[in-house]
Amino acid sequence: MLYGYLFILPWLAGFLLFTLYPILATLYFSFTDYNVLGASRWVGLQNYASLLADRDYFWKSVGNTLFIMIGVPLSIGVGIGLALLLNLPLRGQAVYRALFYLPSVVPAVATAFLWVWVLNPQNGLAMPLNEGLNRLGLPAINWFTDPATAKWGFIMMDLWAIGGVMVIYLAALQGVPVHLYEAARLDGARGWQLVRHVTLPQIAPVIQYMLIIGVIGAFQYFTQTFIATRGGPENSTLFYALYLFQNAFEFFRFGHACAMAWLLFLITLLATYGVWKLTLSKAFQEA
């Protein structure tokens, strides 16, 4: 009986030390004024109150984070589209799949660099596009240097590094039982109808799972914006996780950062509850 605990001991110790204790400590520090160096001072709900009253940074970061969630349905669409194409019985699919996966192998730091250069409106790959717009009498797109378009740069960057998502959909497609397609064909379904009435309902749990992962992921968006824009221009790419990081390690407002972390925890709980109901409970029942 105790044997089981002995076997899970490494994870259990890690859970207590690096998950349970920090969650509770984060809650405690979120009620204090703490600049990391001095002593912490109890301030009650003041950190939460000042965050919720802070339109210029906190709510801006929440708004920006909600905005890049446009990328979530886009990545579902592009991911399923690519997976459908790469699941067709064609020669060379193994090579195609590997090549589409390749961009997601590039480390986030290098990806962020690369896209700043690619979208550089004067000298990057974005140049011909701007020349075309110019000829049509339209203004050039300045991507990361313009508050109106900077977030779209990140959305494109993520759609480029979509390999992992694509592989998940590919596996889901291959898990759809063949006899369902055969039955639908006998009923006269063709092409898009098969996708609409067989494929999509069958992979719906995966889509829902990816939706929630995407929502939680948006709140964790950090490396790319830390490298490419540092939240600028005009805080247009100040995302939730970046502002949390800045509070902790640049402004040394640990209490504020912990309040943000605890709010993030609540958001995650809500979203996880969704995942739990949709997918993980199944894996659990297999036990």
């Binding site: 044997y3 089981g4 605990y5 076997f7 899970i8 490494p10 994870w11 259990l12 890690g14 859970f15 998950t19 920090p22 969650i23 400590a25 984060t26 194409l85 067709l88 195609y96 590997a98 996966y101 390749l102 961009p103 997601s104 590039v106 480390p107 730091v109 290098a110 660099f113 690369l114 250069w117 690619v118 000298n123 140049m127 480029w160 992992g164 998502v165 592989v167 998940i168 929630i212 992962i213 939680i216 709140f219 830390f226 490298i227 990081f245 902790a248 390690f249 640990f254 912990c258 943000m260 972390a261 605890w262 993030l264 925890f265 995650t268 739990w276 993980l280 659990f284 297999e286 036990a287």
Partner: protein, 275 residues
């Protein structure tokens, strides 16, 4: 038959068109990395430089201590893999194949931590490591790996469940201890899953940015990911050098991916988690 051939040709065409779009940034990275300084900022897009400026790579590698950062990264990633294997196999086995009271409860607890964003636990953990005097050492990057990882335990458990129960029962009847069954029977039979876990933890450690950024201050201790970022800050407009450095940091990962594609795909599909 003819229609089918046409449909296939169209599908190939669509894939190749999209592929060209997806490969464009990588091609641009490689092209830029080989441009001489004077050809960086041109009026027109220029794909092929007048000559291949290989000296960009030499220059980037000499200003950016690639060898040192590579050694740091390999040290962290290697120890991470060792820690992950030692600390994830036993819990995975206990959750998959042992009967004990509390198993379902703790498995549920573990699953419920899967979605937890690192930012939620980051700050107290930072204070803890600071108190231990571990800031500016590799310990905060390595030690947690020795204390289990919920995703990887889950992945291994899913694989262990597919092994034939009769073999494990037979070993038990022969008087093998659970510990011996895990390391002598189950682990060798699970080579593909173990390889995937090793690969994932290696790649995560290699590309991790936030933790090295927080814990490593002395530039001689940087890993490749933070080293690259530091390099960017100091060579802001020398895009040929930056792209050369980015290529050098990316190339080993691409090579690793090409050699281990099957393990990659297996890991992603076993967990529904991106690589």
């Amino acid at each position: 038959m003819r229609r089918q051939t046409l449909a296939r040709a169209l599908a190939h065409l669509a894939i190749l068109g999209l592929l060209a779009l997806y490969m464009l940034p990588i091609a641009w990275m490689l092209a830029t990395s080989l441009k001489p300084d004077e050809e960086l900022f041109t009026e027109q897009i220029r794909w092929v430089p007048s000559r291949a400026a290989w000296e960009n790579y030499a220059h980037a590698l000499s200003t950016f201590p690639f060898g040192l950062y590579l050694r740091n990264t390999l040290l962290v990633a290697g120890l991470t893999v060792a820690g992950v294997l030692l600390s994830c196999l036993p819990p995975a086995y206990a959750f998959a194949r042992m009967r004990w009271r509390g198993r379902n409860f703790w498995f549920w607890v573990m699953l419920s931590t899967l979605m937890l964003p690192p930012q939620v636990t980051l700050l107290p953990v930072f204070l803890l490591f600071r108190k231990l005097g571990w800031v500016d050492t590799f310990l905060p990057l390595i030690v947690p790996a020795f204390l289990g990882n919920a995703f990887l335990i889950f992945m291994l458990r899913q694989f262990f469940l597919t092994l034939p129960q009769e073999l494990i029962d037979a070993a038990r009847l022969d008087g093998c201890s659970e510990w011996a069954i895990l390391w002598r029977l189950v682990a060798p039979m699970s080579k593909p899953a173990v390889a995937t876990v090793a690969l994932f933890s290696f790649v995560w450690a290699w590309t991790d940015f936030m933790n090295p950024l927080i814990y490593l201050n002395d530039s001689s201790k940087f890993t490749l990911a933070v080293g690259l970022q530091y390099f960017l800050g100091r060579h802001g407009e020398q895009w040929n050098l930056l792209m050369a450095a980015a290529t050098v940091v990316t190339a080993p990962l691409v090579l690793l991916f090409l050699l281990t594609q099957r393990a990659y795909v297996r890991g992603i599909t076993l967990t529904g988690l991106k690589g």
